[in-house]
Symmetry: C2
Subunit: 188 residues, 2 copies
DNA sequence: GCCGTACCGTCCGAGGAGGACGATTGCGGC
DNA sequence: GCCGCAATCGTCCTCCTCGGACGGTACGGC
């Protein structure tokens, strides 16, 4: 049972199995796809390899189907639950990372033309409007009151951020960043 | 001159050299540290390996110091500039990623205790307040008017996002997510 | 039964992360 | 000048992440 370094990915796997009960990698893939996946993307292949690592570390157990499709069902162990809980309890260390290609393009916009910036902004506005519609739909379906479903709380954070970036790109397209600053100063 | 896949990291290197002129990896490290680095982190080692790749692809040229400290100075080529410009001009494909460990913890908070959430929120509030102070300081120093310095425009986006997340964690700590939703609906 | 299609699992090569370590330089003390 | 120390700068190594390619499995239509 070698000690392994646990990454955020590890905790997503542990957390998902903890919330859902015993799961196969494919179960995880789908579950992640319409929840955590929206704000923390990772490729499906890791949902196959990561549980293996965690099993080796004693945080999961694995049961292999013998008949038909080879399939592995992972369950969380006491050690796994403990690891997850202590991660949740420990103070959060690092700041978030944005990783927005559009923001990069904007940063280097001096190189390009002003029309590039306008086009970029237009595209981003659409993109964020779509995302907001998606999130609002989820809220409407699963619980209009934020406290209805604890797992939906993070959606509120997602929405808050989406609206913020939308405001930014709209202000940029309208050439009114000063207005954006002014409105930020107002009481909320 | 083999064709290489260009990642966002590649464009950061190209963009930085394009803005600053010929640079050594260490120059880039420092330049990135107090600009792009705030919203797109990457380890310093890549600022040594990535220019090599780009040189192999013909997008940069490299001049090696012979005396004293081995040191390489990279300059952008015409092909490099072209690659950068066409990247800026092309429509932005993918949505941004948040990658916020705190958001993950919140998502899995059912596993933990309510005090964990409160503690998490308190920590995040501090963290984002610090970040906002840092950004506001930069704005005050380098250009109170958003349009003063084109490279500072992204700072406005950073601030907008920081304020949004700060509002969220404050609302969460105050147990008033409903209020957050209500205020989002108001005209801006 | 045969075939097409959606579903599911594994592999692999390239790139990213970030710490460890080694080399170089400048500076203060003598 | 010479030494030693600390800051600066460059490279390497190992593990992890990425994401597409590929191949196997189940199921419905005919």
């Amino acid at each position: 049972m070698p000690a392994v370094r646990l990454s955020p990915t590890s905790y997503v796997v542990l957390g998902m199995i903890s919330l859902r009960g015993p799961s196969t990698p494919y179960d995880l893939k789908r579950a992640v796809g319409h929840s955590v996946g929206y704000f923390w993307h990772f490729p499906h292949a890791q949902l196959y390899s990561e549980p293996e690592r965690l099993t080796a570390a004693g945080l999961l157990t694995c049961e292999t189907e013998t008949e038909g499709r080879r399939r592995k069902t992972y369950s969380i162990t006491a050690a796994g639950t403990e690891a997850l809980e202590s991660w949740i309890a420990e103070p959060s260390d690092s700041h978030f990372q944005m990783r927005d290609p559009a923001e990069l393009k904007l940063f280097f916009n001096e190189v390009g033309s002003p029309e590039d910036v306008t086009r970029l902004a237009k595209g981003q506005i659409e993109r964020h409007e779509e995302r907001i519609a998606l999130y609002e739909g989820m809220v409407a379906r699963f619980g209009p009151e934020p406290t209805d479903n604890p797992r939906l709380i993070t959606l509120e954070l997602g929405l808050e951020v989406e609206y913020a970036t939308l405001r930014f790109w709209r202000a940029l397209a309208a050439g009114d960043l000063a207005g954006l600053r002014r409105r930020r100063g107002e009481p909320a």
